[in-house]
Symmetry: C2
Subunit: 348 residues, 2 copies
DNA sequence: CGGCTCATGGAAACCGGTGTCAATCATTCA
DNA sequence: TGAATGATTGACACCGGTTTCCATGAGCCG
């Protein structure tokens, strides 16, 4: 084990604001001003206080500060997203942005179908007096939850595939484009009989992605017959069933686009159950680009969303007021997914 | 959207302990006693106070309470585990146990190789005055971190594959058995040339699992020649390389056991790159039973660990003192993994 | 019936910061 | 030079709980 740092132990006791005040020969209120970057402190005084802070290794107690501010230094991530990869990457992104800010991330999974959803969230947010809340789909699309957060006067940022809210409260992913790219890719490979397996209709992403796919096909002069437009549920099994249905058609598709990777796996499974060889007999394109997409056989062509960056941006929006950032400058460009071409979709 | 509950809005303001005291006609100290379940309150009084609490919907402020207790109501999960599935499941388990306790979960990924590891953790734990910390491997195996937590006088629970600490601080998984089961399974299928791809040597699990595998083979009279014992790194690529090495041997194995599923995928990839057909030409068994194990082709036989339960147990150990549970009664049975038999390993 | 212990409840200080508002200081204007 | 003006700073109450210490009433014994 290599050598590691660690604080000089500070005599076992944490320094308080009073200690700093004594050392710097000022009142605790002035120390508080320095901590909170108040502009009403003479530079000379500020420097003296800062020196005392550094010398004592003083770090203000978040609980005491929070009590006085009537707001904690905790950011809540409320999610009902079932994909572990999505969740962990987003947590990472949020933590990237939170680093050094003194804020911490509290995770709070939930179920939109639970009858106690609102009570749970209210309890969580209100009790902890959260600094802010970040929500990915699909809970980000639940207006009753948003209404609750507004009532509780808690800042929030929603991540979703369409702008449901003011820019400072949204990180928008352009899922239309992602699906459109997939469509163009398949058409360019020569496919004409291309099927679509959608996700849960209750997810906006499913609608937006589906539309992007259909629009792009149309652009290229390809039609999506109703029989090729299947409603899935974002699960492996729903993908499998959809594929069996599609492949039983008198004129089965030569390519299938699924709105997430789990369903793509289900499609591949079904194809093999029917004795097809992949990718020769069927091209498949997924959405999400899970790590395993690159690890399965054949490697899955998929649409990648920069989840971690999305988490980071969401957290930055939450931090903006604290940092005095102009909200207008915050209107980051829309998140654009990119198609990662691998070997599951080939020339027809 | 169906009807949902939600508190009756309580006139916009949260009730404080003073409000409760006024309504119940007692001092705030008495209310405090009721909240903290002090035995020195007459039953009649306690009931009256409880009634007032319920009527007002009073919930004590964790920040104020924490300030007075000099300890927050936050549980930290510190991890360097790269598998999203593992992390999310463990978070779920911890939250299962925390539900209703008033504690929240704060996540804190870290890197054991970072030169600032200890400083980071110290800052996190000390600043937040964490109620406790839960650590899965491999950070749970880092004694410098444990030493730090002891110095900070912060309760912790370690999850690991061997008992590194006192029972109240440990959730132990019996990885020896999991690997042994895999070995027996392969031998029972008729395999004799069985190879092992280990994980990072810095993970205890890799050592324990490897030993379990070797011991069980020996039990069955099968030997593991050095050329069949490959050091991997728990990554897809390391599994792939290991398999290429193994399959280039003059006498290649007919089965490969990898100490996690990612490497199993790498092995499968390598096999296909060499034109082998799975599972006919090579049996593969993994460890972890990631969700995708059941979704890839051929379905991966793998060893499953009840990660969520492990997280729950860890959190319960942390809560035990608060609940006045006898630490002796806490010595839950060791966690036993189970082999999930699928189709990636077949009769030779 | 007085004295004493035990169980309870209350007043006030404290946890470690922040807000309010008035006092102090340095400059500038008349 | 005195007063006005604006920049700095500090005293004190307060955030919402807990703990310490003391007072009070009840029950018990001689």
């Amino acid at each position: 084990m290599s050598e590691r740092d660690s604080q000089p132990a500070k005599s076992g006791k944490r320094a308080t604001i009073n200690d700093v005040a004594r050392v710097a020969q000022v009142s605790k209120k002035t120390v508080s001003r320095v901590i909170n970057q108040s502009p009403f402190v003479r530079e000379e005084t500020r420097a003296r206080v800062q020196e005392a802070i550094d010398e004592l290794g003083f770090v203000p107690d978040p609980q005491a500060r929070g009590l006085a501010f009537r707001r904690s230094f905790l950011v809540g991530m409320i999610y009902d997203q079932p994909s572990p990869t999505y969740v962990v990457n987003m947590q990472q992104g949020i933590l990237d942005a939170l680093k050094g800010s003194g804020l911490e991330l509290v995770v709070h999974p939930c179920s939109r179908t639970s009858p106690t959803l609102l009570k749970d969230i209210r309890g969580f947010v209100e009790r902890q007096r959260l600094f802010g809340v970040i929500m990915p789909p699909s809970v980000s699309e639940d207006e009753t939850v948003i209404e609750l957060l507004r009532e509780l006067d808690t800042p929030y940022v929603r991540i979703a595939s369409i702008a449901l809210d003011q820019p400072q409260n949204m990180v928008v992913t352009n899922d239309w484009i992602g699906a459109a790219e997939a469509a163009r890719h398949l058409v360019d490979l020569g496919h004409r009989r291309i099927a679509l397996v959608r996700g849960l209709a209750s997810f906006r992403s499913s609608v937006v992605r589906g539309q992007g796919f259909i629009d792009a096909l149309k652009e290229r002069g390809v039609d999506l017959p109703p029989a090729y437009d299947i409603q899935g549920a974002y699960t492996f099994d729903s993908g499998r069933e959809a594929a069996h249905a599609l492949l039983s058609l008198p004129e089965p598709p030569t390519a299938i686009f699924t709105l997430n990777d789990d369903m793509a796996l289900g499609v591949m499974q079904a194809a093999r159950e029917r004795g097809l060889e992949l990718p020769r007999d069927l091209s498949v394109v997924g959405y999400d680009d899970l790590p395993m997409a690159a690890h399965i056989w054949p490697n899955l062509t998929s649409v990648r969303l920069p989840i971690r960056d999305m988490g980071r941006m969401a957290a930055e929006k939450l931090l903006a007021p604290m940092r005095g950032v102009d909200p207008a400058r915050l209107q980051q460009p829309e998140i654009r997914p990119s198609l990662v071409v691998r070997r599951s979709a080939i020339q027809v």
